[in-house]
């Protein structure tokens, strides 16, 4: 009996564990290993051990790719720009999602399910199509562009092209990430007890005060999980700038993609991926640290 229990235990945890060790942990380690190799002459990787009969072939391990990353400020600049875009995207998502999440959470149950479904539906439609839709809307010859430029013309401002601009990238980023913010916010806000707000109002607190002293502090855990979801995904995004951005709107994701698809400089691509992972870990770590300090301070008062 005990034996059977043990077998079940090993099977249940062992099989999925093995799968993920093989296809998640091992690949992650391979990235680290690749970052210390030489790039191959025709893309890919140079051999670890020099082939027989050749002398001047690069082989073995090196820090070259790391040196290359820091040799030019270009790459660091792209990282900083990607961080800015990710932060702004996250903030806009938060500002847009909060009222809607609050509204859904405070609606009657029947209505609530329909409203939630309406949030999830566009999320379920194809990712590329959601980006592509903005190509149609922002096209220089589209009705919207025409209308806006007509107004700008009246005021005396020269026409603006929206497509392939940083503005288009930001718009697309917000659009594809919005549900990532709405859902965790809703899950949190839905648990709030309305009695708290009633009590505060009976004691004469204004709407704003109710929000600032009750709803907002209680929703911090929902807010932070929304921020984490949007931020991580936004920082590694390459499809949005690829489709909606111009040549100057490259983000980390595009850099990484290019190293593996067009330039085929694998070691440098691996270095960029590691830098992306480290940036995310650092920022999430810092965020968690400040959140904990904030909590402690709140408990103290």
């Amino acid at each position: 009996m005990i034996k059977e229990k043990n077998i079940v235990r090993w099977l249940l945890s062992g099989v999925p564990l093995l799968f993920l060790l093989l296809f998640f942990i091992a690949p992650s380690l391979i990235i680290v290993f690749t970052s210390f190799r030489f790039p191959g002459e025709f893309g890919g990787l140079a051999p670890l051990i020099a082939p027989m009969g050749t002398v001047d072939v690069e082989h073995g391990l090196t820090l070259e790719a790391y040196q290359f990353f820091f040799s030019d400020t270009l790459y660091v600049r792209v990282f900083i720009k990607s961080l800015q875009v990710a932060v702004v995207t996250t903030l806009i998502c938060l500002i847009m999602s909060y009222p809607l999440a609050l509204l859904i959470a405070r609606s009657k149950e029947r209505l609530r399910n329909i409203m939630l479904l309406l949030v999830v539906l566009p999320f379920a439609s194809n990712f590329l199509i959601r980006i592509y839709a903005w190509v149609i809307i922002l096209d220089p010859e589209s009705a919207l562009s025409y209308f806006i430029n007509l107004i700008l013309n009246l005021v005396g401002i020269s026409p603006v092209i929206f497509l392939f601009s940083p503005f288009a990238v930001l718009l697309g980023m917000v659009y594809v990430h919005l549900p990532f913010m709405i859902l965790p916010l809703y899950i949190n806000l839905e648990k709030h007890d309305p009695i708290l707000l009633d009590a505060a109002q009976d004691l004469g607190a204004s709407h704003w005060k109710c929000f600032w002293y009750i709803t907002w502090p209680l929703s911090i855990s929902g807010v932070s999980s929304g921020i984490v979801l949007v931020f991580i995904s936004a920082l590694g995004m390459f499809a949005v700038p690829d489709i909606l951005g111009g040549t100057g709107d490259i983000l980390i994701g595009n850099l990484i993609k290019d190293q593996f698809i067009s330039t085929r400089d694998w070691p440098f691509g691996a270095v960029l991926s590691i830098m992306l992972a480290l940036t995310i870990l650092l920022i999430i770590g810092l965020g968690a640290y400040f959140l904990r300090r904030l909590r402690k301070r709140n408990y103290a008062t």
Partner: protein, 264 residues
């Protein structure tokens, strides 16, 4: 209270408009009788016709369906096992490992799998590599759903089954499995839509041979935008809508059966 509620309604309505306008425009232009996506000319179904005559696109749809079905099947089995293991044995390492693929940017998962397949496994990229990649990132989603379902359940059900003399296999097969079935179905459907929808991981783990739907769409958008893209988009929206409705119907029918069982 009423006053602030109406402000919320306005803000919420604006977000819904923001969410739906782009999709509505794609659907409308899929019926537009013009090669350009700029103005409405007249109603036509010719883009759908062109789509159904596009052999490569049809193969891509079939390939993507095969990938989605296989990977959601794999992810459901592995994810259910993972969910059960996390719930029963409360191993922190296990849950961190299972959920990590969800928490990292998809591009990193794509790149690392690309390097792994080519360097270590010496695998020719293609359908198999995509199926493995999709399974990897879907496991966590299934595990979360199954685990939260298990958490909501009353432990005493299992204890009473044991007390009544059920073997551990009977206990699993007759009690646990029917109870977590809705979660497994939800997980499978979620994996299916995630897989059909996924572009980033597919982009890195795809081979040169077989056309895959998201990659076909990507080339259409990047290289030659024709309203055919609108038509395939509309059909895909219908497919996901259909999957979601099935999901809701199935899970509510499971609930219905359970309620009936409870009342008798």
């Amino acid at each position: 209270m009423r006053h602030s509620h109406s402000k919320l309604w306005i803000a919420g309505a604006l977000v819904y408009i923001f969410l739906y306008t782009p999709l509505a425009i794609v659907v409308i232009y899929s019926f537009n009788d013009s090669k350009l996506n700029t103005e409405w000319v007249g109603f036509t179904l010719s883009w759908y016709e062109a789509l159904f005559n596009n052999k490569e696109m049809l193969i891509a749809v079939c390939n993507s369906l095969i990938i989605a079905i296989s990977s959601s099947f794999g992810a459901t089995i592995l994810g259910t096992m993972a969910g059960l293991a996390i719930h029963r044995y409360k191993l922190r390492v296990l849950s961190i490992l299972f959920f990590a693929p969800i928490a990292m940017p998809e591009i990193l998962l794509g790149v690392s799998l690309l390097l792994f397949f080519l360097q270590v496994l010496n695998l020719t990229l293609g359908m198999v590599s995509i199926i493995i990649a999709h399974t990897t990132f879907c496991i966590g989603f299934v595990a979360i759903i199954v685990k939260s379902r298990l958490q909501d359940m009353d432990e005493s059900i299992f204890e009473s089954a044991r007390d009544l003399g059920a073997s551990s296999w009977q206990c699993f097969h007759l009690v646990t499995l029917p109870l977590i079935m809705p979660a497994m179905v939800a997980g499978a459907l979620m994996s299916f839509t995630l897989s059909i929808d996924d572009f980033i991981i597919t982009f890195f783990t795809k081979g040169v041979g077989d056309p895959i739907l998201p990659i076909q769409i990507y080339t259409m958008i990047k290289v030659a935008v024709t309203p055919e893209v609108n038509a395939i988009s509309t059909l895909l929206m219908l497919l996901t809508l259909f999957t979601i409705i099935i999901g809701i119907k199935l899970s509510s029918s499971f609930l219905y059966v359970r309620k009936n069982n409870e009342s008798t």
